[in-house]
Structures are given as structure tokens and as C-alpha cells.
């Protein structure tokens, strides 16, 4: 019998449709692995596929999906990795999860994450850190670390996460899988517990580019419940490209110079560029002069929005309430003091300060101007180049606890991914090889709504790289 776990999700879906495997059998196989939860990747696992799941003749063929905790799922714990939402079961389901379920992907479980998606190591979860399947002493990246680890370890065929400054791409990189951050507005944010509203995007975490394309094709589209979502121009087909003839890749040296890239990551990146040239790509330096300031702007804009988005966790209507018999101000402050972790508090304070009267122009206002400049940098780069390419993360998976005492070092994880987030454009991370036995990620970024072309290019590179995408079992 076939080892179901070794099948890619697209293959599994095809075999279900061909009546070669039973979707129930597939669900059960993954459920067993997910429930064992050796990596602490899951915060909740389903008992079975929900009643009335769509039949086998669907786009996603009954292949179950792991969903990051912060997607609201009706009647199922949706806690965003936070103690303040411990046990919270929403009365409704996020649009993206509903779409995937309607397309034939039943909910397998909810995955662990950094609290409110604030973090790059998954160590900020109220439910404990997720372990990297490549080395259980190391972090899986974050904030979608549970989704990334689950896919890499074969606890789920595929997963969705959210990316605000790199939260899909970076854990995909550290876990040796594929992660896509779609164009801002491509996927509905309705039902995604918000971190930074102008940046948050849902996207796939998968074993290969084909799975990512298949999953993304069922996620995109305008949602009347999300005013910032847009109709996706044209369908997303499964990628077929096997070469990069005529594709112009820009390497933003002014960004990479400040990223503190590890030598092993740098050499994997250089090797991938050489492979790309071998496939017919034209690789040249490109300029993104304002991109080195992206991280600073990001750490004003995202916390500012978060300070307002997290104001609703006040102990009044749902979630944790501490000292409910005390007066209102004490109930508020004690609830939030107990319910939020240190990193969330740090960002709420940062954001509150950045928006304060007298500081707004200097901080939030300036950061927005930088954001505009960065978007303009990309726009002019895309006049000459099809894609901008960088290492996804400056380094491979680091040891648990290695950066927890140094927030700024932790923030550097997102140095190469945040510029694309601020510009609202599409990005993908694919595994480009190993450095000291740990996976390295290669990022391609394209203009808004260039996902189809981006997936094609990533597919060609993936073939050439030949990364062993088999499930990590150790």
C-alpha cells in the first residue's frame, strides 16, 4: 500500500478523485500523526472530518488542512496563541477557511503560533514553543511556526498561515517547505484575528510549489465582508514552467548588505542564482534604496495598528477576565496584564506611543512615508525586472532561546521579507538547499497579482534545485 503521508497534497487529491484512496483513510492517517503532536505544532485536532464535507470530486479532493490558530473556526478553539483568548470558540468561520472547506479541504486541526502573530520563532505562544522537525532543539520560525512544522513533519498534508512581515515565508524557510505571501487584498481577511490590518495576508504553507498553487487557487477572490479584498485577475493554474528563459531577476544588494546574512545562507543563495542563470534567467543587481529602512517603518506601522486591533481584548465580552469584581480600570489592566505575553505588551506599548498626540507625525507619519517610498522602489525595480530575489531569512533555524532576550536580533529575521509586506506585493519562499543540515529559503517577490507567474518561476527553480521534499521523520 502507498504511504499516504509521503504523497504531496496535489497527488493525494488526484488519487482521491481517481478513487484510489478514500478521503476518510487520508484524514485518519494525518489525524493520528497530528494528535500525537510531538512538536507542539497543534493547539486543537479534529476527531474526524466534519459531517457533510463536500464529496471527493472537488478541487481539493478531501485532503485535510491544518489552519493557523488565528483563523476563526465556528465552535472550534481559535485563540491566536494567546492566553487572553484561551478556550475562545467563535460563532463564525473565517472566509478563507470556509472557501477551502467548500473546495473539499476539511479542517484537520488548529496550529500553534506566536501570540497574535507577533514573533519569528514561535516562542511567543501562550501554548508553548513549536519544535523544528529538522532539529527539535531549534525553532521552526514564526509566527506560522505550527503550520510550517506540521507540513514539514508530515503531520498535515498542507496548511495555511498568515504573513504580516514574513510570518509565512520565514517559517517555511526554516522548516524547508514552500510558503506564499499573496498580494495584499488577494485573500479575504474576514475572520482572521488581526495583528496589523494593512499588512496581514493569508497564504499557503506546502511541501512544494504545485501544492501551493492548488491551495492558493481556492483561497483568492473578493469577499463582500472584507472591503480591502479584491477580485483576483484570472485563474491560478498549476505551474508547468521548467525553465526561466528571459526572466529577469533583480538582486537588491543594498538590502542584502544590511541583513547580516550567514555565510551558509549566502552560498545557498548564490548557488540558486547560478542555477537560475542556467535555466535562462538574467540575474542582475537591482536597487531598492529605501528597503533597508523597511524594518524600522514596519516596527512602527504594525505595532500602531496592533495597539488598536488588540484593544478589544478587554475582558468585557469574551475571553479572559481578571478581577471582574474590581472597578472597571482594574479589571481592564489586570485582564490585559495577565492575558497578554511580553512581546504583545511591548508592541502594544510601542504602537500606542507611536500614535500619541505630538508623536504621530514623527513616528507613524514618517513610517507611512517610508512605506510609500519602498512601494515606489519596487515599482521602479519591476520596470526592469520580473522578480526581486533574496534569501528569505538571513539565517537557518536557530536554537530555542537563542534570541529571546534580544528583541532587535529577533526582529532581524524579517529584514528581507518586510519590504515586500510594506509594498503589499506577492512573495514566495522555496527551499534552496541545506546549510549545516538545516534548510535555507530562497525568496522571489513579484508585483501585485503576479502570483501565477511567480509560482511558475518558483516551480522551474524547484525542479532545478531538486530539494528532497520528503517528510521529516525523526
Amino acid at each position: 500500500m502507498t504511504d499516504l503521508i509521503e504523497l504531496t497534497a496535489a497527488d493525494a487529491a488526484a488519487r482521491v478523485r481517481a478513487r484510489e484512496i478514500e478521503p476518510g483513510e487520508l484524514f485518519h492517517a494525518y489525524r493520528e500523526r497530528a494528535a500525537a503532536n510531538e512538536l507542539n505544532a497543534f493547539t486543537w485536532v479534529a476527531d474526524g472530518a466534519p459531517e457533510g464535507s463536500p464529496g471527493v470530486d472537488t478541487a481539493l479532493g478531501g485532503v485535510p488542512i491544518a489552519v493557523k490558530d488565528l483563523f476563526c473556526t465556528e465552535g472550534v478553539p481559535s485563540q491566536a496563541g494567546s492566553r487572553i483568548l484561551e478556550g475562545y470558540r467563535p460563532p463564525y468561520t473565517a472566509t478563507v477557511v470556509g472557501k477551502l472547506s467548500a473546495a473539499g479541504a476539511p479542517l484537520l486541526g488548529k496550529t500553534n503560533q506566536d501570540e497574535f502573530a507577533m514573533g519569528s520563532s514561535n516562542e511567543n505562544s501562550a501554548f508553548g514553543p513549536v519544535l523544528n522537525p529538522w532539529d527539535r532543539g531549534r525553532v521552526p520560525g514564526g509566527s506560522s511556526g505550527g503550520s510550517a512544522a506540521a507540513v514539514a513533519a508530515g503531520l498535515a498534508p498542507w496548511a495555511i498561515g498568515t504573513d504580516t512581515g514574513g510570518s509565512i515565508r520565514q517559517p517555511a524557510s526554516l522548516c524547508g517547505i514552500v510558503g506564499v505571501k499573496p498580494t495584499y487584498g488577494a485573500c479575504s481577511r474576514y475572520g482572521m484575528i488581526a495583528f496589523a490590518s494593512s499588512l496581514d495576508q493569508a497564504g499557503p504553507l506546502t511541501r512544494n510549489v504545485t501544492d501551493a498553487a492548488l491551495l492558493l487557487s481556492q483561497m483568492v477572490g473578493h469577499d463582500p465582508l472584507d472591503s480591502t479584498s479584491l477580485e483576483f485577475p484570472g485563474p491560478i493554474e498549476l505551474p508547468r514552467a521548467e525553465d526561466l528563459r528571459g526572466i529577469r531577476l533583480g538582486v537588491p544588494e543594498d538590502l542584502l548588505g544590511g541583513a547580516g546574512i550567514e555565510p551558509g545562507v549566502r552560498s545557498s543563495f548564490e548557488a540558486t542564482l547560478a542555477l537560475a542563470e542556467g535555466l535562462g534567467a538574467i540575474v542582475e543587481p537591482c536597487r531598492l534604496p529605501h528597503a533597508p529602512h523597511a524594518l524600522s517603518a514596519y516596527y512602527l506601522i504594525a505595532p500602531a495598528e496592533a495597539s488598536a486591533n488588540l484593544a478589544r481584548y478587554d475582558g468585557v465580552r469574551y475571553g479572559l477576565r481578571v478581577d471582574g469584581d474590581a472597578d472597571l480600570d482594574r479589571m481592564y489592566s489586570h485582564t490585559r496584564a495577565v492575558g497578554f505575553g511580553a512581546e504583545v505588551k511591548r508592541r502594544v506599548m510601542l504602537g500606542t506611543y507611536a500614535l500619541s498626540s505630538g508623536y504621530y507625525d514623527a513616528y507613524y507619519g514618517t513610517a507611512q512615508k517610508v512605506r510609500t517610498k519602498i512601494a515606489e522602489d519596487f515599482a521602479s525595480a519591476f520596470e526592469r525586472f520580473d522578480f526581486v530575489v533574496t534569501p528569505t531569512s538571513p539565517w537557518t533555524a536557530f536554537e530555542l532561546g537563542a534570541k529571546t532576550d534580544d528583541p532587535l536580533a529577533m526582529y532581524m529575521n524579517d529584514f528581507c521579507t518586510v519590504p515586500m509586506s510594506l509594498a503589499g506585493i506577492a512573495g514566495i519562499s522555496i527551499p534552496s538547499g541545506l546549510s549545516d543540515g538545516l534548510p535555507v529559503g530562497f525568496q522571489l517577490a513579484g508585483p501585485a497579482f503576479s502570483e501565477a507567474r511567480l509560482l511558475d518561476a518558483a516551480h522551474a527553480l524547484e525542479l532545478a534545485i531538486g530539494f528532497d521534499g520528503s517528510v521529516i521523520r525523526r
Partner: protein
Amino acid sequence: MSATDRRWEPVIGLEIHVQLKTATKMFCGCELSFGDPPNIHTCPVCLGLPGALPVLNARAVEFGIMIGLALGSQIAPRSLFHRKNYFYPDSPKGYQISQYDVPLCLGGSLGDVRIHRVHLEEDAAKLVHLGESGRIHGSDRSVVDFNRSGTPLVEIVTEPDVRSPEQAREWLTLLRTTLRALDVSDVNMEEGSLRADANVSVRPAGCTQLGTKTELKNMNSFRFLERGVRAELERQIGLLEGGDEVVQETLHFDPTSARLTSLRSKEEAHDYRYFPEPDLVPLAVSDEMRDAIGARLPELPTARAQRFERELGLDPERAKELAFHRELADYYERALASADGGRDQAVAVANWIPQLVERIGSDADPADSRVEPGALAKLASMVAARQVSRDAARDVLTRLVSDGGDPREIVVSEGLQAISSEDGDQLRALVDSAIAADPDAAEKVRSGNMKAIGPLVGYVMRETKGRADGGEVTRLIRERVNAGS
């Protein structure tokens, strides 16, 4: 304010919140309601549940544009929503979605008060404090009703052009009538669909610099607005005359005690940390959309008053008195439509409306009274044709208010037909009797003391039970007295 009036000039600006009567809430599909059981019109959006997002109500935008156009405002082709951050249990998201530095409408005027801006926002939920105090501090328990959460609001901010408490009340009445003509709100102050805050300051008469202002919150009736502003003006003038300074603060007017209590001072003022709402896109209003809405606007009270003046010949005060109260103006126009003499009688009929209001009360709608508009018009035309005296007609109107009916029939059945010198000798005979009964008065009138004519006229009016025309009687007495000399 008494004698201080002349030395101090009040400077008053108003901030008005209007609940729009759209079918659904500002940012979600929940039904708008008033008086339903608590928390039945709610959803993830208006409860501020995690992950919920706002979607702007197109009808509320249309209503906002209608209000802006009615006030002569510039409609912004692109305006922005902001988050106004504050913690309070009536604010489920921890922020209110409002418009800040780029509002939907700028400028304009209504009557003699200029408009600063008009913008869209959402209402808070309703807090009920259980326990003796009725305020959050000291209450045993507080409960929240989210039915009101997310109700569409328009905020109208005036320039500080109001100069007296009376003017504040009158202007708000005009605004209410204007909004009712637009049919965009219930505009009921007691139910909270129309709420007024006032920014109040005084300055020495003739001074152009503004004094320190205070803000009076939520006066929930027209009377309380007038009273609250008057009380605050008196307080400020008292402070200034006593050599003290006015402190910038927010005040709550308690109508039962007529006292003002401080809610918060400038030092305690909130920092709302406004920033653009990232969950909404900028609000774009095309010229076509604006013009289409403008073309559908109904006749507004100020235009109606002008029409009453220009086309019907009413004096400006009477024209406004009618046009600024829609029920009166509607009733008046119905009465005119059925009047025998048509538009020639416009002024005569208009002059009878205050008589009717005096009898039914200023808050009542005459359309709900027993007096048919046609009956009032007929009464006015009978007076004009001298078929019934003015005094007798007042009694007829009293009868119409209590019993309804046809004025002509009442006049006949009660024998109230006018007695005129043209109808025979009866009136001249009564004049002779009056002179005979009081020759001293007649002599005084003859010698030029016109005040003495009163008892003589009174005699005739008494004898005719008011059916004679006072003017005619006066004329007849003078003629008779002078003829007899």
C-alpha cells in the same frame, strides 16, 4: 442673564449627532431598532468579535451626502475613516470608526449659522448602570446592550455663530425640520436620535477674541439645551465678573437640579490616537453620484419659507414660523389648497394657524386635530368676507377644536352671523342705545378723548354677543357722536 447681557457676548457652537434611519447598521447587516429586547440585533462586526471587519453602508453615505447638500456643504470627492481609540465597555472594538481630518462634507450654512463640517461615524453600544447612582462609578453592576452598537451617525459641527440660548434652541428646531424634510432620521431628542452638545464661551461685548470655552454634553431636549446653555453662560459671566477664570472642561447638565457638573478637565482630556482605519478603503464620491443625490432632494424649510414669503406674501416671521415646523406648513398648504379664494387668502389663512396652535398646543400636529384644513380656510374666508366677526370666529375655532365640523354650520346654528350696518338698522340702533346709556363717554369722545370710546364699543359688542365687527362699531360710534354735535 439680565443686565449682564449688554456687557458680555455669548459665543456658542453646536455639535449635533444624528442617528440615521437606514435599514441596517453602519458597518454590518444588523437591523436598526429602538426599544427591542437587548442584544438581539448583533453580529461579529458590531460585537467587535476577533477577526470581524467593517463594510461601509452605502445608504448611510447617501444620507450623509443629502445632509451635506441640504446644508450647502462641499462634498469631498475622497474622504477617510479613522479609528478613534478609547477604552469603555460601550466601545466593543476599543475604538470608534469616525471621520477625522478628511470628512465627507466641509462648510455650508443653515439659516444664520455657518456649518464647519459634517461627517459619518458609528454609535456606541448602550450602557445601563444598575444600582442607586445610575452612573458607572458606584453602580452595583453595569450591563451593555449592543443593539445600538454601530448605528450610523452623522455629526454636524457648526461654527461658533450662535449668540443666545434662545437662538440655539431655534436653530436646532430648524435643523430638525430640515433633517425631517430629508427623511434621514427620526430626529427625536428624547429617544436619542438627535443629540446636541454645545461649546459655550463669553467675551466682553465688542471684543473679537474668543473666551475660554466649555463643552456641555448631551442635553436631551430642546428645553434642556436652552436651559443648559443659559445656566452655563450665567456661570461663566459670574466667574469673570468675580475676577475668576473660566476653566476649559466638559460639563454635564443635570436638568432636574439645573446644575452643571464637571466630567473631565483639559488635563484629563483623552488622547484618542486617531489613525486611518486600515480595514476600510477611502470613501470616493463621484460628481455624478453627488449630483444625482442633489437632484432628489425635497424642498427644504429655508426654501419653503422663502417661497411662502415670495409667492404667498407672508411676512418673513410668519413664513418661518410655518415653514420651520413641517406639520404646520403641511397643514397650512392643505388648507390653502381647499380655500375658496385660493391663494388670495394665503395671508388670512396663515394668520389663523397660530390661533389653532394656541388651542391644540405647540407640540401637537394640527393634522391630528379635529379641525379639517378646509374648515380653517373656510373660517378665514368667512372672516375676510365679514360673514363672521373676528371675535366670534375665535369661538367657532374653539368649537372646531373640540368637536370638529363645518364652521358655516356652527355659525348658523349658534346664531353667530356678523351683524353689520349694511344688513339693516340693528347695529345703528345699538350704537344709539350705547350713546344714550353713557352720555358722558359720548361727550368725551366728541371732545377728542378717544380712550373714552371703549365702554361704548364694549356695550355694542356685549349686546351683539361679539357678532359685530369691532372696527365697524368704532367707526359708527365716531360718526354718530360727531354728527350729533
